[in-house]
Chain length 173, copies 2
């Protein structure tokens, strides 16, 4: 199936000039959701991954299934103030606004092989911050995986040197 | 394995007097995470579920895996302002603070059989709001499933009449 057709585009959300790519329509379509999760699993199953990092909150919906199937731990990167134990944090600029993300300081051991999953890469601020957090903990990032990439926003340039995989692209954003 | 032993207890977070039950340590333990997800799957696999509703954001980590394995759609209930399309909303009181949750108005069809998953039931405000949202859309709630229940906080009383399942309990909260 064409996964892109299951993603809803919402012009003007959350601010004027942005076309938001809404993956809830993909998630609520069982065939599309399964196919998306299976693409990630088949891509990463032979990479000896130790931990899957998912980014708050849509990254959880795809990263969790991947962690389950790889039989490895799932590690959340969360918005500031959501993780209860000792954390490290990174600030970043969003396409619209700014934010801070955190990870538990004991979530990843030095040298562990990590894949980071988020739903979408736009300007790349969130994934750049997540990459920095994982590296601070000594994680070896095998790849950053996304369902959607918006290439016009050049998010890849924020994480040069990392492997990047996206299932589909939307141009003209 | 004893799943309770994989849950980290953090006294005084997010406010004094509360013992926070931190499930990130369960999620990062592959055996515990798999066992938790499998308990839900085996419980719901023969109930002809049409949709799994997961509550923002830790409910996503468990609800998503359940939706995948049941081969049904995953529906997020999210904090206010996170869902981009037409929503309905419910306000509720938290154990510490208050909040609003939303669901997409087209997420559930009338008569669909639904299970709602969250990580934890404390005073029950969040699940009560989620139950109301699903019912407003005409969903038939088969059960509300949790990893942790804090029975002293009497969350069950908020959703009397619903089936409630929790994998483990912590007393003395």
């Amino acid at each position: 199936m064409n996964l892109k057709d299951t993603i809803r585009s919402i012009p003007g959300w959350p601010i004027e000039g942005v076309i938001f790519r809404d993956l809830t329509t993909l998630m609520q379509n069982p065939t599309a959701y399964k196919e998306t999760c299976d693409i990630f699993y088949h891509r990463y199953k032979d990479m000896q991954i130790d931990k899957v990092v998912g980014i708050d909150a849509r990254g959880f919906v795809f990263g969790a299934v991947l962690a389950y199937h790889l039989n490895v731990g799932f590690i959340p990167v969360r918005k500031k103030g959501k993780l209860p134990y000792h954390t490290i944090s990174e600030n970043y600029a969003l396409e619209y606004g700014e934010n801070t993300v955190e990870i538990h300081a004991d979530a990843i051991d030095n040298g562990e092989r990590v894949v980071i999953i988020d739903d979408l890469i736009a300007t790349g601020g969130t994934i750049e911050a997540a990459v920095k957090l994982v590296k601070k903990l000594g994680g070896d990032i095998l790849e950053c995986g996304f369902i959607v990439e918006l290439p016009d926003l050049k998010g890849r340039e924020k994480i040069k040197g990392e492997n990047i995989f996206s299932i589909c692209e939307f141009e003209g954003d």
